[in-house]
């Protein structure tokens, strides 16, 4: 929404929504819903509208509605999106196909299970807070130790869904975890040897084939692909240094 979304006329849009409930709506199917879309409406708003006025059983994840929690990632017209910040009319199609993320196990409808994602995050050393990059020159009141802010990654799973390798190899750590690992290395509050070993392992940084679809899919400007490559550069340097018996 470039001009902060001034109101305009509504437009009817058909939503073709992936439906699946194990043992109930099984095999899956696509249900069609018509929604009168106003210019501010996001894909999540449209789903809320469908759930509250057309089908109360439609299941999808959502929480913060402003790209902070990362629960509402899904696919619209085949592309990973964060539904709370994806404007429907800006998708530019009269029919919008809404599907769950790939790779992550399906729970029902548009809901996927994030357990496997969280499992891989832990060893990567992901931390919630980081030192803010914002305005380091600004003065600080004495009581504030250092300005801090949350990591950009909101753990939505979009990159995992977009990556051609995670799609076929469930053991590959995946873009989000490896990007987190890089951030942990940079922050340096974990043992670098442990993190290097993790990055350098069979399922780590080298499995990536640089399709860079993770970065294209990331709704939070993390650039997981770029961080992964930066991680490789560091690991390469580490390996070379180790080869010559230098201190890391």
């Amino acid at each position: 929404m470039s001009d902060n979304g001034r109101p305009g006329p509504k437009r009817p849009v058909t939503f073709k929504v992936f439906r699946y409930k194990p043992g109930d709506t099984d095999p899956p199917r696509y249900d069609e819903f018509k929604v009168d879309v106003d210019p501010r409406m996001t894909v999540l708003d449209a789903l809320e509208d469908i759930r509250t006025s057309q089908d109360a059983t439609l299941l999808y994840r959502h929480s913060c509605h402003h790209a902070s929690c990362g629960t509402c990632a899904m696919k619209a017209n085949g592309r990973e999106i964060l539904s709370c910040v994806t404007n429907v009319l800006e998708l530019g199609t009269d029919t919008v196909v809404v599907e769950p993320l790939g790779v992550l196990p399906l729970v029902a409808d548009l809901t996927v299970d994030m357990t496997s994602f969280a499992d891989h995050f832990e060893p990567a050393g992901m931390t919630l807070l980081r030192k803010s990059e914002f305005n380091p020159k600004a003065e600080r009141p004495a009581s504030v130790q250092d300005y801090a802010r949350y990591e950009n990654c909101i753990e939505c799973g979009a990159c995992i869904s977009a990556c051609p390798i995670t799609n076929t190899d469930p053991q590959f750590m995946g873009p989000a975890d490896l990007a987190a690992l890089y951030r942990a290395l940079v922050k340096g509050d974990d043992l670098p040897e442990k993190l290097y070993a993790l990055a350098d392992c069979e399922h780590g940084a080298w499995r990536c084939h640089t399709a860079m679809e993770c970065t294209a899919a990331c709704p939070s400007d993390v650039d997981p692909g770029g961080l992964l490559m930066a991680l490789r550069r560091r690991v390469t340097g580490y390996k070379i240094k180790r080869l010559f018996g230098l201190k890391v």
Partner: protein
């Protein structure tokens, strides 16, 4: 009924999260049902402010005291969950400056530490502020993550044996005579409808409290009061920026990640499921918050949404901001003569733990359980532990 618990909590928001955590720590067999994803109602959608209480220090000192107390407790039990950057109340107009005395006094009365800055000092700390800023007062506000903080409570509760069922909607309250004995739920995962028994049911559904209380044949005086919030790209302040004025529309900017969340407005609704997004409220956000941080008017919009506060008040009360932000726990045995159901409502994200403590005390007293509250000192697990 195949399953029976000591306590069944309806509603997986921040209150429900803190309540199952509290009850699990007290050793009760507890389950929680939530119709959608956890924190998909009001809890997830708030502006992410860990209140210092400053906002209420003049008009609503009960809420203010609750806020500062819980603020300090949460920092202790959920380390690394906050952007501990504090907050500023900034005066732009002479009217704002005139409010300073009452504000600082109110904060002192409620135990909220303050520190005052001149215009020049303020601008050195927050260069994007309106250059007309006259002075500022610092308070211990912070930014929290509306999804990950409640998830820490859920994670800890789960590891202490609580049973948490998202995607499970209550379709009926089961009663024997005038006693609630359980609930009928529908799973939105597989469409199954089944019953869960409980010695006590807690209605922690916030703005949806009325829907549940109707099923149970009891009454709760909750008024859904939505507000509009807008997130713009860019982090335009290091600290939380509040307007040094009585509570009003568009009086806060909360920096969160690489966003600035500006808020908020207030109206009343009867339907918490269809809040809508009044365009004039959105524009008002840009206008009013722009008075403090002019840059937010031109910053690219990231999201605009509504969230409904579960305020306590009767239909007879007209105003919105006059209603207290405090919380209350209702035992419907006393109010409506219905045994086996308790309602907790009101309050805010910051006071989630306190609301849970109050409710758990009522629950334990009703069930005849003697177990002290331990949530004040129990450090929470990381949110990721919910998935392990």
């Amino acid at each position: 009924m195949a399953e029976k618990f000591h306590v069944l909590v309806i509603g997986g928001g921040s209150t429900g999260a803190a309540l199952v955590h509290d009850l699990a720590l007290r050793g009760l067999r507890v389950t929680l049902v939530e119709r959608g994803e956890l924190t998909s109602g009001t809890a997830g959608r708030h502006h992410g402010l860990l209140h210092s209480g400053g906002r209420y220090a003049v008009q609503d000192q009960e809420s203010a005291r609750e806020c500062i107390e819980e603020n300090m407790i949460l920092r202790r039990i959920a380390p690394d969950s906050f952007e501990e950057n504090d907050g500023l109340f900034v005066a732009i107009t002479d009217e704002d400056v005139a409010y300073r005395g009452a504000f600082v006094r109110g904060c002192a009365e409620c135990g909220i530490p303050t520190r005052e800055f001149s215009a020049a000092q303020t601008l050195r700390m927050e260069p994007y502020l309106n250059p007309l800023v006259k002075l500022a007062v610092q308070v211990p506000d912070a930014t929290l993550d509306c999804w990950r903080l409640p998830m820490r409570f859920f994670a800890t509760a789960k590891h202490n044996g609580a049973d948490i069922r998202p995607y499970t909607e209550v379709v009926d309250i089961l009663k024997r005579d005038r006693t609630v004995i359980g609930v009928r739920v529908k799973s939105h995962v597989n469409g199954q409808v089944y019953d869960i028994g409980a010695d006590l049911v807690v209605n922690a559904t916030g703005v949806w409290a009325e829907k549940i209380s109707e099923m149970a044949g009891v009454r709760v005086p909750v008024r859904p009061s939505p507000g509009v919030m807008v997130a713009v790209r860019g982090r335009w302040c290091n600290m939380v920026i509040n307007r040094l004025a009585p509570p009003g529309d568009g009086d806060i900017v909360v920096p969160q990640r690489a966003l600035s969340v500006i808020g908020t407005t207030e109206w009343y609704t009867d339907d918490p499921d269809r809040l809508g997004l009044p365009e004039d409220h959105v524009q008002k956000m840009f206008e009013k918050c722009g008075e403090m941080l002019p840059v937010v008017r031109t910053a690219p919009l990231r999201a605009a949404w509504s969230a409904a506060r579960p305020l306590i008040g009767d239909e007879t009360v007209a105003g919105g901001r006059e209603l207290s932000r405090t919380f209350k726990c209702y035992d419907h045995k006393e109010r409506d003569g219905v045994e086996g159901i308790v309602t907790i409502s009101g309050g805010k994200g910051t006071t989630m733990r306190g609301m849970a403590e109050l409710t758990a005390n009522v629950v334990c007293q009703k069930l005849g359980v003697h177990a002290p509250c331990r949530t004040r000192e129990t450090v929470l697990l990381p949110y990721g532990a919910y998935y392990q």
